[in-house]
Structures are given as C-alpha cells and as structure tokens.
C-alpha cells in the first residue's frame, strides 16, 4: 500500500531534479525579488515614514514567505493538464488514489525544491538584508515553513480540481495567489494592514501558511508556536476534506458520462 506512494514520491523527486533549469530560474527569481524589495524598503525608510520595523528584517521576512510559497510544487497545473488532455480518465482507474498519487508526487517535488530554494532565500536575504537580527527565530521559521509548504501544496491540489469546472484554472490561481499576497502577508507583514484585514486574515489559511512561520524572524510572531501547529494541522485537514469531497463528486460524474 505504502510502497506505491513511495514510488510516486520518488517519481516526483526525480522529475523535479530532472529540470535543473527550473530550479535555477526560481532561485534567481527569488534572489532578484529580494533585491527589489530591499530597494523598495530602503526607499520607504528614506522618506522617514514609520513602517513598523527595520527594512533589513523585512527582507528576511520576505525571504521566508517567498520560500514557503515557491517551494510548494504547482500540482494544480498538472491536474489542469490531466483534465485538458483527458488523461484523468485513465489515471482514476489505476490501483492508486488519483489525489494520493498527486500528493505523493508533490511531496517528492517539494523535497527536491525546498532545500535549494531555502539556500537561495538565505543567501539573498543575507546579501540584501545582512545577518538575521534573530538567528534562532530564523530556525523556527524554517521548521514551521516546511510544514506550511505542505499545506500550500494541499490547497494547490484543491485549486487544480477546479479545472473540472473551469477548464483554465489560471484566473482562480491568480485570485488565490493575490489573496495569499494580502491575507498571507506575503510582501508586507500583516501588522501593516488595517485591523479589518488582520481580523479576516486570522480566519483564513493564508496567514497560517505565510505570516505564521515568517513572522518569527520579526520576533513578533503572528501566532504563538502552539497555535501555529494547531492552525497548520487544522487547515491541512480542511484542504484534504475539500479535495476528497470535490474529487468524489467529480469521479462519480465522470464515470456516468464515460459510460
């Protein structure tokens, strides 16, 4: 039972490693983004405005949020491809769960991507933000960030399943991504947003997966460690429940239509 999913993990890992150009492009993109934001924060700081923190620490915060988000494999596009090409029809009759297989493959890809991107994020943050002000907090952010990437990946599966209705999932993905920007505090720490945004963010998965781990580097955690563990587990369960419910409903319809 476990063996076949281990095989999917190995496939995911091998497939991710087979595209080194993608890794390098991502790492480069991450480092450049950190450079852009370091420049933005310096420009904002030079106006004398109070942005509620040190620009250098904000670079480390961004490095952590971007790392979590970029490490999560884009399984949703693979599911979209399965739907568009009709491959899903033969994949669901395999003796392995369609969702389980994608999750396992994603896990393998995550294992290949996360360490490389983490190295890129830390190097970039060090170059543009200097040494971390709270090194131990960076360690905590990384530990929670690994779990958070897994939760992000689970929601990517849910996004991918929307292809059964929409065909092209790009718009839903963009909306999801932008909600992550705002409610997850991807670019700006959530504490800079108005209270109403912070209140909404607390009851969404976005703050748990991004601001939760990354805010440790600001030394002003958005969630306490215990709360963050509960939030991440809770939101992972919600993602699993949604994915399984949607997929079962779709699979029933597919079998009926397919005759």
């Amino acid at each position: 039972m476990i063996q076949k999913y281990l095989a999917f993990i190995r496939v995911g890992y091998a497939r991710a490693r087979a595209e080194p150009a993608e890794h390098y492009a991502r790492v480069l993109f991450l480092i450049v983004i950190l450079g852009v934001f370091s420049s933005l924060w310096r420009a904002v700081a030079s106006t004398g405005a109070n942005v509620g923190g040190d620009p250098h620490t904000f670079v480390w915060y961004l490095a952590m949020t971007e790392w979590v988000l970029m490490s999560a494999p884009h399984i949703h596009f693979r599911i979209e491809d399965d739907v568009r090409r009709g491959d899903v029809a033969y994949q669901i009759v395999r003796p392995a769960s369609y969702l389980g297989a994608h999750f396992a493959e994603g896990l393998g890809a995550l294992a290949a991507r996360a360490p490389v991107l983490l190295a890129g994020a830390c190097v970039g943050a060090w170059i543009f933000g200097g040494a971390p002000a709270h090194p131990r907090s960076v360690g905590r952010a990384i530990a929670f960030g690994c779990v958070a990437s897994l939760v992000v990946m689970s929601y990517n599966i849910v996004l991918g399943l929307s292809a059964f209705w929409l065909g092209d999932i790009a718009p839903v993905y963009w909306i999801w991504q932008k909600l992550t920007f705002v409610l997850g505090g991807l670019l700006l720490p959530l504490t800079l947003y108005p209270d109403v945004v912070i209140r909404i963010a607390r009851v969404t998965p976005f703050s748990a997966v991004l601001a939760g781990p990354a805010s440790f580097v600001l030394d002003r955690p958005f969630f306490s460690g215990g709360m963050l563990v509960l939030a991440l587990i809770g939101w992972a369960c919600v993602a699993a429940l949604i994915a399984v419910t949607i997929f079962h409903s779709i699979a029933r319809r597919l079998q009926l239509n397919g005759g």
């Binding site: 904002v44 929409l166 065909g167 991504q177």
Partner: protein
C-alpha cells in the same frame, strides 16, 4: 514589393480570421469565459491593495505617487492582457515545441509563428484589459488628450511582451523541456514591470532593459504616458521593432532545428 505588400495583407487577413476563430472558441463556454474575465479583473484589484496600503504610509517613493503606480500597472495589465488575448499561444510555445505540436501547423501555407501564436486566446486577458483601463482612468494623470499616446504605449508594450514570450519559449528548440523555466522568465517580466522604475539601478536596470525587458513592457510606456516626449516615443517604438524582429528571427532559426513529435492532430 507588390508581392510583399500583398503577402503582408494576406497574413494580416489571416491573423484577423485566426483571432476571431480563437475568440469564438474561448467564448464557446460563455459562463467560464465571463468568470475568467471577472476573476482576472478582481485579481488585479486585489494586488493593487499592496500599493494602497504602502502609499497610505508614504506619499511618494522616489518620485512615484499612487497615481503613477496606477498608470504603470494599467499599462502593463492592458499590454499583457492584449498579448494573451491576441497571441495566447505565446506563453505555451515551449510546450508546443517540446511535445511536437508544431507538426500540425508546419504544412500550413501561412507563417508558422503567426499560426502558433494566434491559435489560442486566453480569456482572462480581457479581464486584464478591463482592469488596466479602469486603473489608468482612475489614476488622475491621463486626460482625453493623451489617449493617442496611451494607445501607442500599449501597442508597443503588447508587441514587446509577445516578442519576449517567443524569445523565452523558443529556447525549447535547443534545450528541449524548458516549459517551466520559460514560464518563470515570462512571469518575471510581468512581476518586475509592476514596480516603480526608480527602484532599480546599475546592473539590475541593465537587465530590465535587455534580457528581461520589463523596462520596455512597463516603465518606458508608463513614462511616455506620464510625460510624453518624442525621444521616449522613438526609443519605445524602436525597442518594439528590435524585439519583434529578434523574436521572428530566433523562432524561424529554431524552426530549422525542430524535429517532429510524430503527433497526429486535426485542425479545423
């Protein structure tokens, strides 16, 4: 000369027909089409809240106020939106090349690049255009007298973005499977073009006006709209011609190395 003008007219008629067919195909599922348009417009509005929050704390960032960022964002949104609406095959070109999907169009009498670019319309591009128009209108910088300038800026931005998609994706002719890397590069052009130009200096600035031409997709067109001048117009139109020519050359050069994917496909 007469033949080349006739040929250009023929390609132009073909491109129009291709666009109409692709658009009709995208609109076949009207509900999904409208949802994609609406969601993309909403997506752009959500992203812009980042700038609203930031500019609620500072009035200007290196000479850029909120209205200037709205113009920049509007130009890029319309430019990219038009590009994926009219030439929606561009962002997927690497996959077409790697998986042998060009086989079906190689035997067509019209230029392969035109066919490949125009055979797909991305519905969400129209949402980009709608939100871009709204942002420019609400920026408080553009009045009716500047509409011709805005149109030239958008046309140049669109041309350069399509050319960039072709250039990045044509790498697949030589390197094989580069779809994700190409997509990353194209996305990085969009991402960097959405930040105020003065944030970038030195090597980064050189990069953004050459290999990752976010400067020509966003900054220069926005500069032209904010403060029109002949020098900027010439620079922008010149860049559009250079990038379009480079894309045409690189794609056709790559086409010579293309090997079939033995793919069977029906084209209506």
């Amino acid at each position: 000369m007469t033949i080349s003008i006739r040929s250009a007219r023929s390609v132009s008629r073909f491109s129009r027909a291709l666009f109409v067919t692709s658009l009709a195909s995208a609109m076949a599922q009207r509900g999904a089409f409208l949802m994609q348009v609406a969601l993309m417009a909403l997506n752009n509005a959500i992203f812009f809240t980042f700038w609203i929050v930031l500019f609620s704390r500072v009035s200007r960032i290196r000479g850029y106020a909120l209205g200037d960022v709205a113009v920049l964002y509007g130009i890029v949104a319309i430019g990219v939106g038009l590009a994926v609406t009219v030439a929606g095959g561009g962002p997927h070109l690497a996959r077409f090349i790697h998986e042998g999907e060009l086989d079906a169009v190689l035997s067509q009498p019209k230029p392969t690049l035109v066919y490949v670019l125009g055979r797909r319309t991305v519905a969400s591009g129209i949402g980009d255009v709608v939100s871009g128009v709204a942002m420019i209108a609400l920026s408080g910088i553009v009045d009716l007298s500047r509409i011709p300038v805005v149109l030239v800026a958008i046309l140049a931005s669109t041309t350069i973005f399509v050319a960039t998609c072709v250039l990045f994706n044509s790498i697949a002719f030589w390197l094989g499977r580069v779809e994700t890397a190409s997509r990353q590069l194209v996305e990085s052009v969009i991402t960097f073009s959405l930040y105020p130009e003065p944030l970038f200096g030195g090597a980064m600035r050189l990069l953004l006006f050459t290999l990752v031409p976010a400067g020509f997709v966003g900054y220069l067109p926005a500069r032209m709209v904010r403060a029109p001048s002949i020098a900027v117009t010439v620079e922008l139109v010149g860049a559009a011609v250079v990038y379009a020519s480079a894309a045409w050359y690189v794609f056709n050069r790559g086409l010579r190395t293309y090997s079939s994917g033995s793919r069977f496909e029906f084209n209506g």
